[in-house]
């Protein structure tokens, strides 16, 4: 039988009819349309039980309470914690992005030992016991050679149990070299130390101030505890409080202020003295406070009357003298005026003169330790560990001078001078530091003159990073002992920056550790135990959690329950008892200061002939510039006039741009005495002619592809300028030149 064409066609027609009567076609059509709507490679997040965990964010010193929303064992969202004394429900852009850090590709997933060259990123995974043994062996070796004092630790804070554990280990081991990363905390602490005679942090009662005079502080650009400052700013709007912002660039703070007064950069100290001049001359000061609780007023008065009359100050600052006079009057007439300083987010120390001058302004209007004013807030003393018993090696080591020179004859006032660190290391042929521990800090990125810092690091024979992320410092370390991310660990977070209350927050494990990481506190205890002897004796705890629980004592339960502990009765002493200076009073001219302050603006690096422009940095909430690199979500929010592709823009006044012949978006080389980089220009009417501004927080060379290689790190273009009295880094900018490319 042969099948003919017709039969075949008939078969096909029969088949078609049968198919039409069967579900095949219809069902396939339906299924394929469903398939086209659900693409299998698009992830489907698993559903589950929702729970909320209260904790504290440690990504900046702000100490905000957070509430983490979880679905089963996954953390899916970070929200601000309602009722928290710092942020009451608000949350900042960085805290919101923290889950990208927790689950992100930048995590260091296990202890790593360098096998290639420094920075070559060739690592070998090692076990925790190997890692601890390696560190202990190195430390033991140095100690036996009498070089215990050449061990150094760099941390972002000196408050709380983890920094205390570091400090304790160094002390009992025999090294005075605990260094805190620089910030305006240093300058405020020193100003308060000198003028009040107490060791305390500056707390600002911003909620109650009704006239805020800011000398370049980025009140809503990340200064202080950011969310708290945002809330305060909104309260000011509601209550009609006034904000006056003094700075050469129209920052967000300046734009939101009631009055923006552009000023020649770096001359803020002169303006503060000029305001003092008017206030004193017109007798607008708080005579009760000045007469009864202060000393040195006559000397101070003489100084400001002699040198800072409005016309002189106008000459220096570029601020119109009549504007200056009316500002001084408004400030003094306000019922709760508050003057603050520390440029931008306050990430550099600044000059001591400026802090003293601004603090003196506060004293003149009598708002020291009072409602709406500046408070000297001592650290809460909840860490009461027994004194360490030092052996002879430790005692000898502790007698040695600090590597950064802080507390030495030359720099008697400063406690930490990380800005001097690279200079000291680089000036000697053999590094005076033999081992360096870095925790919660990324000095290779955040300290100015990156090139010099990198050179210094390369000279140090043994660098250990405790970073959870592959940051610049970790990348150039010999050993990485990754800490848990704050969402995986317990840690006390005392003293949110700038707060005038006693609050201790508690970070707690929201999720289980995602990788083979270890709590830095546990690692310190293990190292101490491995070193044995008196060192081990100083660490009687089994682990960090036991140490923390014991330290917090009767606060533990409430802190675990609420996520924070705060002292409702906290008060600073009344003016009669507040000051512990030689005079027992607030000192306008600190008696403890051996060399007189001259209150003159800091001269920055570079000659104005070869570098006709001035380069200043600016801080933005949308660019994390501390030891945390920008998570992808935040980088996504950066405007395309700040970052485009891999290029960063410098802001320049259209007039200045025209003079140089630059148009919007033009590529230029920016050169400073410290470095050069290729950038693009963005014309911005909000910046003073003659000045160019670059954002901080770009130019990472580590982390992941979402942030690395974008723009340039401002710290590569600037170097430190030493404050002659304190030794702090007083640089606020550097001279620069733009050339077309």
């Amino acid at each position: 039988m042969k099948i003919g064409r017709r039969s075949f066609l008939s078969f096909i027609i029969g088949g078609a009819a049968g198919t039409a009567l069967s579900p095949l076609a219809w069902k396939s059509m339906d299924d394929s349309s469903i398939w086209s709507q659900n693409w299998p490679w698009t992830p489907v997040p698993a559903d589950g039980e929702v729970s909320h965990v209260n904790s504290v964010c440690t990504l900046c010193p702000g100490g905000c309470g957070i509430t983490v929303r979880k679905v089963d064992d996954r953390a899916v969202k970070i929200e601000g914690m309602k009722g928290h004394p710092v942020n009451d429900g608000g949350v900042c852009i960085l805290g919101l992005s923290a889950l990208q850090l927790l689950y992100g590709p930048t995590r260091v997933k296990a202890p790593l030992k360098r096998v290639g060259e420094r920075g070559e990123e060739k690592w070998q995974e090692i076990s925790w016991s190997e890692a601890v043994a390696e560190v202990a062996a190195k430390l033991g070796d140095l100690r036996s050679k009498g070089k215990s004092h050449t061990v150094c630790s760099i941390l972002d804070s000196d408050k709380g149990t983890v920094p205390y554990l570091f400090g304790r280990l160094l002390t009992v081991y025999g090294s005075p070299n605990f260094i805190r990363t620089p910030s305006i905390q240093d300058s405020y602490e020193l100003a308060i130390n000198l003028m009040h005679g107490v060791q305390a942090s500056a707390g600002f009662d911003v909620e109650h101030a009704d006239f805020v005079l800011s000398f370049g502080s980025g009140l809503i650009d990340g200064w202080g505890s950011p969310v708290r400052m945002f809330k305060a700013n909104s309260n000011w709007k509601d209550s009609g409080s006034k904000v006056v912002q003094i700075e050469p660039r129209l920052s967000n703070t300046a734009a939101k202020s009631d009055k923006w007064i552009p000023i020649n950069p770096g001359t803020e100290v002169a303006l503060a003295m000029g305001l003092a001049h008017v206030i004193i001359k017109e007798s607008l000061y708080d005579s009760d406070f000045v007469n009864n609780y202060s000393s040195g007023f006559d000397k101070f008065k003489q100084l400001v009357l002699d040198k800072y009359n409005p016309d002189n100050v106008a000459q220096i600052t570029g601020v119109d003298s009549s504007a200056l006079v009316s500002l001084a009057r408004n400030f003094a007439h306000a019922s709760k005026p508050l003057a603050v300083c520390g440029r931008g987010q306050g990430k550099t120390q600044g000059s001591l003169d400026e802090f003293i001058a601004v603090h003196a302004l506060n004293a003149l209007v009598g708002n020291i330790n009072s409602e709406g004013g500046v408070w000297a807030v001592p650290d809460p003393d909840y860490i009461k560990w027994p004194e360490v018993e030092m052996d002879s090696v430790a005692a000898v080591g502790m007698q040695k001078e600090r590597i950064d020179g802080a507390g030495s004859e030359t720099y008697p006032y400063a406690r930490y001078l990380l800005n001097r660190f690279s200079g000291v290391v680089n000036s000697e042929e053999e590094s005076p530091v033999n081992a360096l521990f870095v925790a919660g800090a990324n000095p290779l990125y955040t300290i100015s003159d990156s090139k010099a810092v990198k050179e210094a690091f390369s000279k140090i024979p043994f660098v250990v990073s405790f970073s959870s992320y592959m940051d610049e410092t970790a990348k150039n370390a010999d050993l990485i002992l990754p800490n848990h991310v704050f969402l995986e660990r317990y840690e006390d977070v005392p003293m949110p920056v700038g707060l005038q209350k006693h609050v201790i927050g508690l970070s707690r494990p929201v999720v289980k550790p995602q990788f083979n990481t270890k709590h830095v506190g546990d690692v310190i205890i293990l190292i101490a135990k491995a070193l044995g002897g008196r060192i081990a004796d100083a660490f009687p705890w089994d682990n960090y959690e036991a140490c923390l629980e014991e330290t917090l004592g009767d606060k533990w339960e409430s802190i675990v329950e609420n996520g924070f502990w705060s002292d409702p009765d906290f008060k600073v002493p009344a003016s009669e008892e507040a000051f512990n200076t030689p005079s027992g009073k607030f000192e306008f001219i600190p008696a403890n200061l051996k060399s007189p302050l001259d209150f003159s603006p800091v001269t920055i690096e570079g000659s104005d002939i070869s570098y006709p422009l001035i380069l200043v940095p600016y801080d933005s909430m949308r660019l994390a510039n501390g030891f945390i690199g920008n998570p992808p979500f935040i980088t996504k929010t950066v405007e395309d006039t700040v970052l485009k592709g891999k290029d960063v823009f410098v802001e320049i006044n259209p007039k200045t741009a025209e003079e140089i012949g630059l148009i919007e978006g033009r590529y230029v080389d920016i050169r400073t005495p410290r470095g050069k980089a290729k950038v693009r220009v963005h014309l911005f009417d909000g910046i003073m002619p003659g000045i160019v501004a670059l954002p901080r927080g770009l130019g990472h060379t580590a982390y992941d592809k979402y942030i690395a290689g974008k723009g340039i790190n401002f710290n590569e273009l600037i170097g430190p300028v030493e404050d002659p009295v304190s030794g702090f880094d007083a640089a606020w900018g550097i001279r620069a030149r733009l050339t077309k490319v």
């Binding site: 042969k2 008939s10 027609i13 088949g15 049968g18 069967s22 579900p23 039980e49």
Partner: protein, 241 residues
């Protein structure tokens, strides 16, 4: 010439053949469509543990809600987590190999059981149990059938194209259903909503059986009284995310 005649003869012969082939084609495609196709389309999967609902319903006090309950936040727990099972199954009870497997493999290792969910809707669907059970006072059986009376877990059939459970389309490959719980497609939601006049603004509502609804109703007419799913055009967001 003779060849030509031969072919002609053959052709006249093939009249019956044509019909035969038509029937053959028809039969083959019907067998393919109704018999082979469903077999090919669905893969057969066994549950990791053969679960006996009857036994559990007897043992628990509050019926279905003992394990499938509403959480305080209004969400529905769905399948119980291991933690719930462990309340009773810390130790092996009895000798059932499924029980032994459950305790040894999952309880001991603190591993969640990867149950296959017959009623699993795709990610784009938002379904509120609270609205239906608490507000609508609907019985579980209405959508889930008599699963609570089963003593063995039936085979889970997964559509190879869409990845959906067969229960969504329904056991019957034709898409026809006898009981309310036979299918869980969007039209079935609509049918019930129409019957009970929930979310409809026209009272004389009725839905056409699939696939007539597709074929007969032009798009614009969906706003009209014979709409497939919802009379109100704005209702997509109620159930889709």
């Amino acid at each position: 010439m003779s060849r030509l005649i031969e072919e002609k003869g053959k052709e006249s012969e093939s009249g019956g053949f044509i019909i035969l082939f038509f029937i053959l084609g028809l039969a083959a495609s019907l067998v393919l469509g109704w018999g082979v196709f469903p077999k090919l389309l669905y893969s057969q999967k066994k549950q990791p543990i053969d679960f006996n609902h009857v036994l559990h319903v007897e043992a628990v006090e509050e019926g279905c809600e003992s394990c499938h309950f509403f959480r305080e936040d209004g969400s529905f727990s769905g399948l119980p987590k291991l933690a719930q099972c462990v309340d009773c199954h810390e130790e092996i009870q009895g000798e059932d190999p499924n029980e032994v497997k459950f305790v040894e493999e999952f309880v001991a290792n603190e591993r969640e059981v990867p149950w296959l969910v017959y009623a699993e809707q795709p990610d784009c669907v938002f379904f509120s149990h609270a609205a239906h059970v608490k507000m609508g006072k609907m019985e579980c059986v209405l959508c889930h059938g008599h699963i609570g009376e089963s003593s063995h877990s039936r085979v889970y059939e997964e559509n190879r194209v869409t990845g959906y459970s067969r229960d969504i389309w329904g056991k019957n490959i034709s898409g026809l259903k006898k009981n309310t719980w036979d299918r869980m497609k969007m039209d079935d939601c609509a049918e019930c909503h129409a019957k009970n006049k929930i979310g409809y603004d026209k009272t004389s509502m009725e839905t056409l059986p699939w696939p007539l609804n597709w074929a007969l109703l032009p798009y614009e007419k969906q706003i009209g009284p014979k709409a497939r799913v919802q009379a109100k055009k704005d209702a997509c967001f109620v159930c889709h995310k």
